[in-house]
């Protein structure tokens, strides 16, 4: 094969030079990517490989469904809590438990705190170094940075030249020490970095500011869930009982002081995303106005289940509406049903798993999913079994399965949610997107429409920033709703009527859906005799990082890299830039569940 047309409209050409990036850093988990570049160093073929598998599926089998949240929470410590939330929702769905209003709101606040913090950490600490050159910031004039800061974010109080000079001094000494630490071996001389020094200094300053502040917002998790990472969740509600003015309220999980503490942190987060995060993304994007690559699948198919209703159990009030857009038709949102076995299916043709004889090309719905690891390299792979030089994408090549909606690969994530919400005309999102694009076009001197600007690497990063700010807004609404509910006399935080397994049906199955920071997250559970019979997660990075399916349809990571020119293929800045815009979470992506928990092939070494 040299060139190939994929069913979802992409052209692959693997004749050029093969470039391998392994490990892809600044992500959660382990990812490998291989690309072929043509003679002009444009990426013409991309192969992404999830390089870890932990087998949580097998481990969960036979355990108490009420314990499952803690196991699956450990799928990922970056998006910590969203798997736990999906898990308790799945169990509650299976058993027909409705949580009290306070619990519903507290969970909403916790989910959005996580989304907000995750997006901030992602942009500044995992993504920014793809756009920002910290070494170049040493050449900045702090007065120019101050001026830039006041232009892009007039409300940000930390904008004096002295403030930026301090940071610059600190950075200078750090660099001059010769021990570059995390900046070591970066691609700082690469022409792909386009920011002027003053913008670099502003971004580096906010890198440190964000590092300081991200630990503040998660204190809300510490109050409501006891700790972060990995706050505690509970089937039936939340463990943090409310005691406003009774005996021993001071020792209760939630009291007046704790609520005030939460409110302060939510307000600080709101100010940070408004004054720092969103303006930074727009400002940085404006310097990269001609780098509109990386859209890939987002220009075609996007998907989300929908989440954050204002009324519990009423999807029509979802602040992020669900649905599927196919082939870039923003005028039609197709409904999605996670229970329909014909809609969501996972394939393993190119994944290191097996479904059994004759099932190699079959798609399985999560409730019927199988996870039986089967590690083998293709005939055209280079290297050996334990020293892979190049994978063979025509064979099995990843620990990630390939989920499809009615056979279609879909991109998920904040960008998908924003395209869906924008198309559906959600007022807040529409205003946000239009305003951000106005500011971008104004700064960059362009006239891009949402349809041009959003399905790009930059659009993905922008959507994440806007979503973080929308979450900050929603959190305050949720907080006020909770106060109103408490004021109305409702202190209940847990529904314990179906706590005892004796009250459960012999068999039950449920699904828990969450608008996780990286996209549509679903957990499917089957319960029998009070124990987990099958547990399956289909997570955002499984959708985005999926390998090819039997028809050859490629997933979002691979699609997004195609057509991107590289300045220097030895220095994969452009690859990192686009991959990071998805915020890949590989521990999440690679851990799905076996129903039979059958004996796995065991090769004992040493």
């Amino acid at each position: 094969m040299t060139t190939l047309q994929t069913p979802n409209g992409f052209t692959l050409d693997n004749s050029g030079r093969r470039i391998v990036v392994d490990p892809v850093t600044r992500i959660e988990g382990h990812l490998r990517v291989e690309v072929n570049v043509d003679h002009e160093n444009v990426i013409r073929n991309a192969v992404s490989t999830g390089t870890m598998w932990r087998g949580l599926e097998v481990i969960l089998r036979g355990r108490d469904p009420r314990d499952a949240w803690a196991f699956v929470e450990r799928i990922c410590g970056v998006c910590t809590g969203c798997h736990a939330l999906a898990s308790v929702r799945a169990v509650e769905d299976a058993l027909g438990i409705r949580v009290p209003t306070n619990a519903f709101l507290i969970r909403q606040i916790m989910a959005k705190v996580l989304a907000w913090q995750d997006h901030v950490v992602h942009f500044y600490h995992l993504h920014a170094l793809d756009w920002v050159n910290p070494i170049n910031a040493l050449q900045a004039d702090p007065r120019a940075t101050s001026q830039l800061q006041q232009t892009v974010s007039p409300d940000n109080p930390r904008s004096s030249p002295g403030y930026f000079r301090d940071v610059q001094n600190r950075l200078r000494k750090f660099v001059e020490s010769g021990q570059l630490g995390i900046f070591k071996n970066g691609y700082w001389d690469n022409a792909a970095y386009l920011l002027p020094p003053e913008a670099n200094l502003m971004a580096v300053t906010h890198y440190l500011e964000a590092l300081d502040f991200q630990k503040e917002i998660v204190k809300v998790h510490a109050v409501l869930g006891g700790k972060n990472p990995h706050p505690n969740y509970m089937v039936g509600g939340v463990p943090c009982a409310i005691n406003m003015d009774g005996d021993m309220a001071a020792g209760a999980p939630l009291n007046m002081e704790r609520l005030n503490f939460i409110l302060l942190k939510l307000q600080e987060a709101y100010a940070f995303s408004k004054n720092v995060y969103v303006p930074d993304v727009i400002a940085i994007a404006s310097y990269y106005k001609n780098w509109l690559y990386g859209g890939g699948l987002s220009a075609h198919n996007v998907m989300d289940y929908g989440d954050y209703p204002t009324i519990q159990g009423d999807p029509s009030t979802d602040r992020f509406p669900g649905g599927v857009i196919l082939n870039g038709n923003w005028d039609e949102i197709l409904p999605i049903n996670p229970r329909d076995p014909a809609q969501i299916q996972e394939f393993i043709t190119h994944s290191w798993y097996q479904y059994g004889p004759g099932q190699e090309y079959t798609g399985l719905h999560p409730w019927d999913g199988i996870t039986d690891p089967h590690y083998a390299l293709g005939v055209n792979a280079k290297g050996t079994r334990t020293n892979i030089l190049a994978v063979d994408e025509n064979a099995k090549y990843s620990w990630i399965k390939a989920p499809r909606w009615r056979g279609n690969a879909c991109e998920v994530g904040p960008l998908a949610r924003y395209i869906l919400a924008y198309s559906k005309g959600v007022a807040y999102v529409k205003a946000q997107v239009d305003d951000a694009l106005d500011r971008f076009n104004h700064m960059a001197g362009t006239a891009l429409t949402p349809k041009q600007a959003l399905p790009t690497t930059i659009g993905r990063t922008l959507a994440r920033a806007l979503e973080a700010h929308y979450c900050a807004h929603q959190m305050l609404d949720d907080y006020n709703a909770m106060i109103a509910n408490i004021k109305a006399g409702d202190l209940s935080t847990a529904n314990m009527t179906k706590w005892d397994p004796a009250t459960w049906p012999k068999e039950a199955k449920g699904v828990g859906l969450v608008a996780a920071p990286r996209g549509a997250l679903g957990h499917w559970i089957k319960i029998r005799d009070g124990k987990i019979e099958n547990y399956q997660c289909v997570v955002p990075s499984t959708w985005n990082g999926s390998p090819r399916d039997p028809r050859g349809t490629i997933g979002a990571f691979e699609a997004s890299l195609l057509g991107t020119p590289m300045v220097n293929p030895e220095q994969p800045v452009e690859i990192l830039r686009t991959l990071h815009s998805f915020d890949p979470c590989l521990a999440c992506a690679t851990h799905v569940m076996a129903p039979d928990g059958g004996e796995l092939s065991r090769v004992i070494v040493r």
């Binding site: 490990p23 892809v24 850093t25 600044r26 959660e28 382990h30 490998r32 870890m52 932990r54 087998g55 481990i59 009420r66 196991f71 450990r74 990922c76 910590t80 995992l126 170094l129 001094n169 600190r170 000494k173 010769g178 570059l180 630490g181 995390i182 070591k184 071996n185 970066g186 590092l211 300081d212 630990k215 998660v218 510490a222 109050v223 409501l224 006891g226 700790k227 972060n228 990472p229 505690n232 509600g237 463990p239 005691n243 209760a252 999980p253 503490f261 690891p373 590690y375 334990t386 892979i388 030089l389 620990w399 209940s492 847990a494 314990m496 706590w499 990192l576 521990a587 092939s601 070494v605």
Partner: protein, 359 residues
């Protein structure tokens, strides 16, 4: 290492006065539970030590340890990264990737042989030739062994590296193996927890930097300063435990009054960690304060010790699952019935014997 700056240099360059520097040192001494006589030692250490190179590897894990680490409030994570250690390799934060990233390991191993710290988050799987976790096309265990060979000491971050954690829970399909079972010839500091408390993580590092020695370790290899007491022993709800006041069900009167979570399966009485003393996220709270029992996440094999919500581990293999007490009571009943039957037969026999005697 002549051109490597000391903490003091760094702090002075940051515009911190000597006066503030000394104050910082005395605060550090207090934070580590040391008396004022240690302040000069800390001052000296800060003035003379170069920044310690650290390689931070990631195996099978969830990155919660790194996430916890960057939550540290004292010292701030940025100060640790910029001024205390030289974090030369860390998958999560490093700018470079691919070959450039892997080259750093070789460089540090050559330049600082025997003088760098290897921090490990996660653990290596040994099944499938180690290919359940691949770094640079090779098994993670290879990278781990290689990086450990030149290390001064190894820090096993979190329960994954220390004990195996969730992927090593029964039946451990990937044969995920704790670091100390793979690296046998290096001193290993275990800092368990899922994740460990941020300030415990930075506390271990600053202790090593300040005193230039390994922290005192307990029998299991954990720093005694943070892992020598049970959560239960300094829990703010302990008075309710001793009094006999418990949460009987979530969101009941006791839950709202902050009664002891013992009956809710709290593992505080069997868990060694600093959660109830140092607390989480800059001392804001800890699981028990937020109303949920302790999961025991810093204890070995805590995934396989029964439900989070049960005091006594459930036992399988008795048809339906049952607690030790149910099994014990049933057995006692069966034995009691057996003894009664035996007594009845004995009595009958005796009567018959007597009849025989009389005849």
């Amino acid at each position: 290492m002549a051109n490597i700056e000391t903490f003091y240099d760094v702090m002075r360059r940051q515009g911190i006065t000597r006066r503030s520097f000394i104050k910082y040192c005395s605060l550090t001494a207090t934070a580590l539970g040391l008396g004022p006589e240690f302040v000069p030692q800390i001052v000296h250490a800060m003035e003379t030590k170069p920044r310690l190179p650290v390689l931070w590897l990631h195996g099978l894990e969830c990155t919660c340890c790194s996430e916890s680490f960057i939550r540290s409030s004292h010292p701030l994570a940025k100060d640790v990264i910029l001024s205390m250690i030289s974090l030369d390799y860390d998958d999560l934060l490093m700018a470079s990737a691919g070959y450039q990233a892997e080259a750093i390991i070789d460089e540090v191993m050559t330049k600082y042989n025997g003088n760098y710290i290897l921090a490990v988050e996660g653990n290596p799987p040994l099944n499938e030739d180690g290919m359940y976790c691949i770094i640079g096309g090779k098994p993670f265990v290879e990278q781990l062994r290689k990086a450990a060979s030149g290390a001064k000491a190894v820090i096993a971050w979190g329960s994954c590296a220390s004990h195996g954690c969730v992927q090593a829970a029964r039946p451990n399909p990937t044969r995920a193996t704790p670091v100390d079972k793979v690296i046998l010839n290096k001193p290993i500091i275990k800092v368990p927890g899922c994740p460990p408390i941020a300030e415990v993580m930075t506390g271990v590092i600053t202790y090593m930097l300040t005193f230039d020695r390994m922290p005192d370790l307990d029998r299991q290899g954990r720093p005694r300063m943070f892992y020598s007491q049970r959560i239960h022993d300094k829990c703010y709800r302990r008075a309710h435990f001793d009094a006999g006041q418990y949460v009987e069900t979530f969101d009941d009167e006791g839950a709202r009054k902050g009664y002891c979570l013992y009956k809710m399966g709290c593992k505080g009485p069997t868990t060694y960690n600093a959660c109830s003393t140092i607390r989480w996220n800059d001392g804001v709270s800890f699981p028990i304060q937020s109303g949920h029992g302790c999961l025991g996440c810093s204890e070995e094999g805590f995934w396989d010790k029964g439900s989070w919500y049960a005091r006594l581990q459930h036992v399988d293999g008795f048809g339906i699952e049952a607690s030790a007490d149910k099994v014990g009571a049933v057995t006692a009943g069966v034995v009691g019935a057996g003894l009664a039957a035996h007594a009845a037969v004995s009595a009958l026999k005796r009567i018959r014997c007597k009849k025989d005697d009389n005849q």
